[in-house]
Symmetry: C2
Subunit: 222 residues, 2 copies
DNA sequence: TAGTTTGTAGAACGAACGTTCGATCGGGAA
DNA sequence: TTCCCGATCGAACGTTCGTTCTACAAACTA
């Protein structure tokens, strides 16, 4: 079964979800076409299990690393490092995650959206803790955090494992760009107060709580 | 014909290249299925024309804006602004660009890869000019520039035109994060020399010139 | 031993796919 | 009028798709 999921991830990654046929997966895994349906209800079920497993694993790995770092900046570095390590360890699954986010529908789509949202919320909380502790630029926090995810999730489009830096150096670079780009660091005064750098209209922060996506409609199926 | 391309972009965006059928495009454009083949050789030809047109337009818009700004930092802001404006004006085409980068094959794939590469080189040159003028962190320039593209190209996955900021504010935020994240701005001394912040082994920069991607193999077609 | 479960596989289903073919239509050229 | 040519279309071709059905072999249960 693990073999099937891994083969399916490889095929989905190489040809896209719609472009990959169950016969391709059968060939890649060495399991007969009809036998695939013993392990999953659907082609969609395969994609679902791949995505769900990946997000679950990322979150599971993240938790202890966050617990080990109490400074928000360090926590953010840990999140980036964790994301990138998984990314480079499982490039196929990661590409499927980023590429085929909209290929699911119905209940399964909802489930993946929810765990993805949990992940995003965690990053957002860290960023808010950072805002509370350090002086942060007058940026929309949603834009900032999603830009960070952008840097991380774009990597699979250009990274070549032989010649490009590994997770450690990559993570250091991206986390540094983000932190120094986001922190108000022009002069000495390191503030301890939670005061945001820009006066914020009442409710402006709260209004933006439902984030990441109001869950875009699934790709039309017909 | 423009109608066909626009409809095709909308359909490709909504269902993915492989998931979209020529019949879908026929329905969306109001042009009979067989008539589509009067304007393009292939389904692939449609995707090719969409991608080529988009990149050409982005580059065409970029040139005058770069000419209007001589400071590398301002040029970089112009590039970001230009990219984001096109992104929000043509979200469908942009999603197709980011999502279906690997769906082409053969000659057409090569052509798109080359113009994309031209775009990347332009960004790289600006970054190198920045390095020559300002003090820059010891970062792999390839990683830095591609992270910037990551922030920009990820936007289409989360941006909702009604509630999220427009190109101007978005561009300002992303360019600021990038510039302040990349520039060595901790203390006063603003250097004019081209000296990189970190000693660089001879040839290290030159070795990395072939960038963005050594052109990954196309998705297997069978 | 007999019966049930677990895993595998071949063959086939109807539907949808990309693409081609030949016919038709309208308007400028002779 | 006659001819022609760019543009459009319905119908069909052969292929491949996701999925189901049925059968069969080994392994465990009683």
């Amino acid at each position: 079964m693990l073999l099937i999921l891994r083969s399916a991830a490889r095929v989905f990654c190489a040809k896209g979800y719609e472009g990959a046929s169950m016969r391709d997966i059968s060939r890649a895994s060495g399991v007969a076409l009809s036998s695939l349906y013993y392990y999953c209800r659907n082609k969609q079920g395969l994609l679902f299990q791949i995505q769900m497993t990946a997000f679950t694993e990322i979150l599971a790995r993240l938790a202890p690393r966050l617990a080990g770092a109490d400074d928000p900046a360090q926590q953010l570095r840990a999140l980036v490092r964790n994301h990138l390590e998984y990314s480079l360890e499982h490039p196929d699954e990661m590409k499927v995650l980023a590429h085929e986010a909209d290929s699911l529908a119905g209940r399964e789509r909802k489930a993946v959206a929810e765990i993805k949202r949990r992940y995003y919320r965690k990053a957002m909380e860290i960023f808010e803790a950072l805002e509370a502790k350090k002086r942060v630029r007058p940026l929309d926090p949603r834009v900032a955090v999603l830009s960070l995810f952008g840097m991380m999730n774009w990597i699979h489009t250009w990274h070549r494992s032989g010649t490009d830096p590994g997770a450690e150096e990559l993570g250091r670079a991206i986390a540094t760009i983000f932190l120094d780009g986001v922190l108000e660091n022009r002069l000495a005064a390191r503030q301890t107060a939670a005061r945001p750098a820009r006066p914020v209209a009442a409710g402006e922060r709260a209004r933006r709580v439902p984030p990441m996506a109001a869950e875009a409609p699934a790709r039309a199926s017909s």
